[in-house]
Symmetry: C2
Subunit: 754 residues, 2 copies
């Protein structure tokens, strides 16, 4: 590896010297000296901030808190220990804290004009310079691209993204000699290490690379080093990676040979701003995307970075905010840690930048208010002024459909919303190396609480005791597998056989999405490749019907296959079982449900058979009652399962599932999911504790149409009628069921019969 | 049954006619007409309230809410269905709602002078009169004392307690003829049914009887029927029950032959105000105790009911408030449903009455403010004025030790508190029929969150789907058993063999309690009868030591036995396992831990052996890290278990336990329980994720002394030294351990050695 790195260095230096021909080094230095800060803070911005200080509450508060934090750090003294630990360990945490302290101290120096902050930055940078110039690779060997300060180049890149900002803030405070020392011994070799010495990390389309690109680009902007800036924007020139090689997570290193910041915008974002790995990684990638974009906007306005790909960076912020529940927690699609929310600091950056460089959406101000802090820069000032001037409005999340894929042609993710009910439907592409095998899966929320969960990842991020804070092996054996999700598993094998290479070739297809009717929010998609020979077509509707207490969900999963298969169809609920209308038996000893593809991790707690053509399953969670009513076949097995088998280190959460198992060729699973009533342990009264669905029937299912009939507790009949081909809103459909003829326009209709 | 009731009636009527001699019926009527309302509302009180309306925010708000609620009820119309259902069913819920609506409408009539409320009360009462006069016993047969409106006389009594108040409010609005009709056909027979026709319910010391007594007494006060009042205060004259008979819950019907309201104050309350069944049932019993007391205070001031037994009724409110966690949730000792809190309406009554008739404790006003409502009577007015006048202060809960037993000589319950840490230690008597076999058990809380839980009851109160909302069979097979609690089970048999008759004979003994040292809150108690031949002595201390991040718990369980036994010692934690310093294996199939005494309900999820003389067990819950460090023996089995085996209807919560199993004669279990650090899924940073205890040793354990030595992560040595005999604070103790001599005064000392 070392030998290769050396060769890269030579090549790149060759380029660099060419670039410098038209601009002497002294020109750049004097030119840039007058202009610093210019990266995130700007000279004029700092003046505006200073003139408003004391009259912009949220900004003043953010500044005071930052000052308090950094004053405490300064009091504790500077520590730059020799790196030894994985994530969560002492040296890791210390260097991570240092990078933030440096960035913040730099900002404080600019805004408060207090030299102690500049000195702190300078002193710490000099300690890093002293250490770095002889620092070997980090001693921990688990990463595919080891860093020097941290065990992976990814964290080194994080560091440089922050420290570039600090350097910019103290640039003019430092002597030219000091700058040369830092640039020669620290920044330049640091940037080289994470790029030309780590091409397997840097030269890709991947969230890791985005951090690398931003790091190299931002230090390049401060140093006014065009070669670094170009390397950031376009990747390392002349480097091609093995297109079949894979990284730690099983993702291809560089299948298409694309690299650099612009490619990293181009590839993972759909035109709607959906990020292919899902919201958790988008949140993580967001900071380098936006902070580097802000730097580029300030230093290289001619690039018009915020207009790139029709303004996708700002669109992506809107998409990301819409991929959060009522509490602002991101939906844990693919590898996502639950609890991550728009209160994370990356989203403060995102919201402020989106407001300032976008359309001044007043909805963003209410999120910024809830975040209760702003960036200490021009964008934070804009937000603080907006809030101060009473411009904030609620950020109303409505149903949204987001395409996936660079051109928006690779399926997508839809979020249906009605009152407190939110349903997330995933019919996207694989989602890069962080994707799960969960075609047509869904999760359900009520007022920010999970009702039917997406498990998310199997990892305790940064908790060292749990596998060094990294991905646990159960992420592959459980969390990514199909049976861990609320969708069909056929014959106890995951979608695409659980093979990343296969899954990456395909995506589901939107059939239709319609949020125009306030009573029926609906989405429908098809998946033809997860199991060759089997077609899945799933439709979700949230129906707001005055005969029901709350909006309810209709879930129709149509399965078409020529061959007989076993279909397992789970609902991962939370809470305690209240009642089932089927009988089940519990075993005296628990055994796992299967041997592989995640089945080995499920205990079978009970098994039963339907007593009628409906099966009802009710539970209580957080004071609310829920019921699934599903059409059932006499031969169905109704399984109650719990996660936790074959889990020798208790890495999994022991949460339950209700699984419908059916042996069939083509079949249909039609279900209604209701939230109803409530129970308070204080008043001890149970209100509306029973389902309002008295029966559910598939009234028709054919190649062209599917119809389900719901009878409510008062005997009223409701029907949802779907056309399975032809989604034009103008097309008239006619369907005869029994002696009744139903006519409607467009792909669906919902009617009350009596 | 019917025949016996008839006999009782004859006898009682005999007494009644004697009593009436000095007071002609017409005298009473005219006398009382001028005085109504006089029970809870008083004529003068109503005038005061009216004069303040509009200027007492919390009262005005409570009134407006009540008005809104009752106006809606009136609009819906009156329904008094023929009773058919158990708790949670329609007729049960309807009659329960009616009783509250009647009471509130009565109050509204008095305060607002709007006749529509009086008419509503009259009309509904007349419907009840019409129905009741021919109403048979409730058709559901499960109760030991069936009611008529409800399946149990208990609920009938609830009804009459409320409806008496309504009757008082409309007394003067009704004609004498109407009153006679109601009293003759409804109130008198109603009172007779729950008392002389249901002696097995009425003639006891039990929370059920308290409701019965209050119901009879309150209607007696309104009707000015001295015979009913006497029956309420002293029980049914001349009735003796079989002293060996038992009720549905397994409690004795009437072991001592005591009965009546005064006996119900005398017996279950200790002089400190602890109620022997625990806070959940105290909360339930509180309302009839206090509302009847308020009525007696108003109508029969000469009884000085609030001074009875040295003011124990008001003391009991203070005790109850102190038996709640930081969020106001009552500790679920014995049969207690979690989540019941001082926000329940019975506690609004308790807090308002305690303030008004007690010492005007300003701390109560802050609880009333949090409750956000007051009683619509004189006491509510007093509270509203107190709050309005800015007198509210925080209700500071400190460590408290509450004796149990009528004379305070039957053990007790201690709550140790230090900063956010609360520890509840139960060394009480059996706790009547709702008691659990949990001698020397404890539970631990941090800032209102359960850390080490008491399971509480196995019941979904009023949720009809779950066993009619009544006690589930798992309450006996699991929740009451010793292994369900954080204390020692010997040889897989519950304390007292799980026999109520045996358990009721004994209680644990306080050894000492000391909350005078802010750094060490400590309690110690002994139990000699749970297992004949085995003595248990447990000491808990919460230690606030500057070398630790937060106060930590020391738990010392000394077991003395001549014979070899198996001791199982569980800690019911919550959350996910982070790390253990012992190795364990997980089985490929789960089996129950045992066959009976609750063991049949535990799955054995893992088993291991200590690797050293300490075993460490760490977990994460709600963003906080916790560690138990315990002294271990090489032959110990360390078991990880989960509740849920043999639970055919999923009535139990599948929660985990860490169980130390040891085979020994005499032995000591010494443990430190720490809460440390935190983890945020938003910042993804883990702070102080490791225990600060590097080793724990029993430095000395003999007949007279026990000493434990804690070495912290920085090598500092701490010692807790206990005298096992002699608790005088003036007694000097000298203990030599190795070459060191330790001297201290009083039963314990805590020292830092270096």
């Amino acid at each position: 590896m070392k030998k290769i790195s050396y060769l890269f260095t030579i090549v790149i230096l060759g380029f660099a010297s060419c670039k410098d021909e038209n601009n002497s080094v002294s020109d750049i230095a004097s030119n840039s000296e007058t202009n610093h800060p210019n990266l995130i803070l700007t000279k004029s911005g700092v003046e505006k901030i200073k003139s408003q200080l004391g009259s912009i509450p949220i900004f003043d508060k953010s500044l005071a808190k930052t000052k308090e934090e950094i004053d405490a750090e300064i009091a504790l003294g500077i520590e730059t220990p020799i790196p030894v630990d994985y994530s969560g360990g002492y040296t890791h945490v210390r260097h991570k804290r240092n990078m933030v302290a440096l960035q913040k101290a730099g900002v404080l120096f600019q805004i408060l004009d207090d030299e102690k902050y500049a000195k702190y930055v300078k002193d710490m940078l000099m300690q890093y310079e002293e250490m770095y110039k002889t620092l070997p690779l980090h001693p921990k060997t688990r990463s595919y691209a080891r860093g020097k300060l941290f065990w992976q180049s990814l964290n080194d890149s994080n560091w440089l993204v922050y420290v570039s900002q600090a350097y910019d803030c103290v640039y003019n405070y430092l002597s030219e000699e000091e700058r040369n020392k830092l640039e020669t011994n620290l920044f330049k070799p640091f940037a080289d290490h994470i790029s030309i010495h780590s091409p397997q990390f840097y030269q890709r389309v991947h969230n890791h690379s985005t951090w690398g690109n931003a790091a190299v680009g931002m230090i390049g902007l401060v140093m006014n080093d065009q070669e670094l800036i170009d390397r950031a924007l376009y990747g390392i020139k002349g480097v091609d990676l093995d297109k079949t090689a894979k990284d730690d997570d099983g993702g291809f290193l560089n299948k298409d040979g694309k690299a650099g910041f612009l490619a990293n915008i181009e590839e993972p974002f759909s035109p709607d701003g959906y990020y292919n790995e899902g919201p958790y990684y988008q949140r993580y990638a967001m900071y380098p995307f936006l902070i580097f974009a802000e730097g580029l906007h300030n230093v290289k306005p001619e690039l018009k970075i915020f207009e790139y790909k029709e303004g996708v960076l700002l669109k992506s912020i809107n998409a990301l905010l819409n991929l959060s529940d009522a509490d602002g927690d991101f939906f844990p699609l693919n590898d996502g840690q639950k609890g991550m929310s728009y209160y994370t600091s990356a989203l403060v950056t995102a919201v402020d930048i989106s407001y300032h460089f976008g359309t001044h959406d007043p909805g963003l101000l209410s999120i910024a208010s809830a975040q209760d802090r702003v960036l200490l820069d021009d964008s934070g000032l804009a937000v603080a002024l907006g809030i101060k001037n009473g411009k904030a409005e609620p950020f109303n999340k409505k149903s949204i459909n987001l395409s996936d894929g660079p051109n928006g042609k690779q399926g997508g993710v839809a979020v249906l919303r009605n009152e407190e009910i939110e349903l997330v439907f995933k019919y996207a592409a694989q989602g890069s190396s962080h994707g799960h095998y969960d075609k047509l899966s869904f999760s359900l929320y009520e007022d920010g609480e999970e009702v039917i969960q997406d498990y998310g990842l199997a990892r305790f991020v940064n908790i060292e005791q749990k596998g060094g804070g990294n991905y646990l092996k159960e992420n592959k054996t459980w969390a990514k597998q199909t049976i861990a999700h609320n969708t069909i598993t056929q014959n106890e094998v995951s979608h695409f056989g659980g093979k990343y290479e296969v899954g990456s070739k395909y995506h589901s297809e939107l059939y239709f999405y319609d949020d125009t009717n306030p009573h029926v929010q609906i989405v429908s998609a098809k998946e033809a490749n997860a199991y060759p020979g089997t077609e899945l077509h799933r439709t979700f509707a949230i129906i707001n019907d005055e005969d029901f207490e709350k909006p309810f969900v209709v879930d129709i999963m149509n399965v078409n296959s020529e061959s007989e298969n076993q279909y397992d169809f789970p609902y991962y609920y939370f809470g305690q079982i209240m009642k089932t209308d089927f009988q089940y038996t519990v075993p005296s000893e628990l055994k796992p449900l299967g041997k592989s593809f995640g089945y080995q991790h499920l205990w079978k707690e009970a098994e039963g058979k339907p007593l009628s053509d409906n099966a009802k399953f009710s539970w209580l969670n957080h004071g609310k009652f829920y019921t699934i009513t599903t059409t059932s076949d006499a031969t169905d097995n109704l399984i109650l399962a719990r996660i936790g088998a074959k889990d020798p280190e208790f890495n999994l959460r022991p949460e339950p599932a209700f699984i419908i198992r059916r042996h069939a060729k083509s079949t249909i699973f039609a279900s209604v999911i209701e939230s109803h009533g409530n129970y308070s342990p204080v008043s001890e009264s149970a209100v509306n504790a029973y389902s309002s669905v008295s029966s559910l029937k598939v009234a028709y299912n054919g190649e062209n149409y599917t119809a389900v009939k719901i009878e409510d507790a008062k005997g009223k009949i409701k029907m949802l009628l779907l056309a399975n081909n032809g989604t034009s809103n103008k097309r008239e459909h006619i369907l005869e069921i029994g002696n009744e003829e139903y006519k409607w326009l467009g792909p669906y209709t919902y009617i009350t019969i009596n």
